[in-house]
Symmetry: C2
Subunit: 270 residues, 2 copies
Amino acid sequence: MAQEQLSISDIPANITPREMRHIIREGRFSGPTSGLCPGYAQGNLIVLPKEDAYDFLLFAMRNPKPCPILEVSEVGDRFFHTSSADCDIANDFPRYRVYRDGVMVDDPMSVEDLWRDDLVAFLIGCSFSFESELIEAGIEMRHNTQGRNVSMYITNIACEPAGKMSGNMVVSMRPIPYEQVVQAVQISGAIPKVHGAPIHIGDPSVIGIDDISKPDFGDAVDIHEGEVPVFWPCGVTPQSVVMNVRPKFAITHAPGCMLITDTKNISLKF
Amino acid sequence: MAQEQLSISDIPANITPREMRHIIREGRFSGPTSGLCPGYAQGNLIVLPKEDAYDFLLFAMRNPKPCPILEVSEVGDRFFHTSSADCDIANDFPRYRVYRDGVMVDDPMSVEDLWRDDLVAFLIGCSFSFESELIEAGIEMRHNTQGRNVSMYITNIACEPAGKMSGNMVVSMRPIPYEQVVQAVQISGAIPKVHGAPIHIGDPSVIGIDDISKPDFGDAVDIHEGEVPVFWPCGVTPQSVVMNVRPKFAITHAPGCMLITDTKNISLKF
């Protein structure tokens, strides 16, 4: 029986990452995690069979901006141990996507029944992690203010391929007032493990985005007069790879619905 | 027939990395590369059969301080293409070490005759890369002044294991005057892809070094009154792993005898 769903306004501000993961694990929260547990790193997920793991690990190494690796599980182990304690990979993300032959076939809140002994899980840094520092610096996160998921787009920027893995970079977009752009670059640039500095500032068409009001993932947000769209490499990039190279089986998180780790952002700076 | 050997004082100051690699490829230089081609990144090597490549790549990902990956070759390809153009992995390092079952069996100047279709080469950042910036800041590199190889030690710091790979961290040591230590930390810390900031400053015994006058690799250097030994993670760490876990076959560079790449240090900062 489906659990009653909490909205982000039901979550106490001082909740710990572990408490939040337990709420998610119990199926009581299935939405985007932006704004939850400020100061703690959030993570994207891709799970692949071991036979695809070397190619993906090499892909991530060659593309550290969209795919900064926070942790890689042991083969068949359904738990992360380093970035978080007591962390169930198959239940602690609010929502998942299941891909077969590159096509999304399901978006469940648990993938426990799909877990296999040959799976390897890759946890990838997420730009939600540095949002709390941007907010601290007085930079509004429009998607938070509007109660929406962040806008994400598939660009024309080809990632460096590795073995069978290839595909274009996905980016997240935040509208930033011109006078805060430099600060946003510097603050985010200080944490490369959660994507670091923006990949593009200004003209969406330069990176192959034809219509900024129609994101490929997440929601559109308002861009006000005097603001510029700023684009960060995004950990949804592996999903663009999966759609491109069509591996037999993959599990990812649903865009915006991240793992909230026990790892403080500040520990990722060094 | 053995080529006549050049010493570092025979090398013109304005030599390019490509020219230097050609001198090395022709067998005319077989010594340590510290001080050559300032401003360009130098690299450590480990070559393993494909069957060991996933474990090593994961080991490097989990231990980015001693093992920051600059490039990984395609399986069986004897050339690097990204960090340098026209770069022969089997000939462009001044000297190699060949390990069988974890024991060094040879230290040739070429490993061309040992190359196999199943080999993968990992190029790992080297602290020689940031030495030119330290020198620019007025910090003496004692091993250069004394015409010696840098001092390297196997520590008691266990690396994070991955699959069958495990072992203790190797460090390089430079004596630094107390008043320049902070600057040395800040300058090197800005380039994590070539090891970044020191791992220890001060007391060698804290990291398991009993006698600083007896390095495990390279040469001892003088430490003057008013100087403190500063220890950086070192790309010879994979050799400590090879000696520990004894894979059937591995090739590495000889400690201190690095690949000089076409990659500028500054491009590794971002």
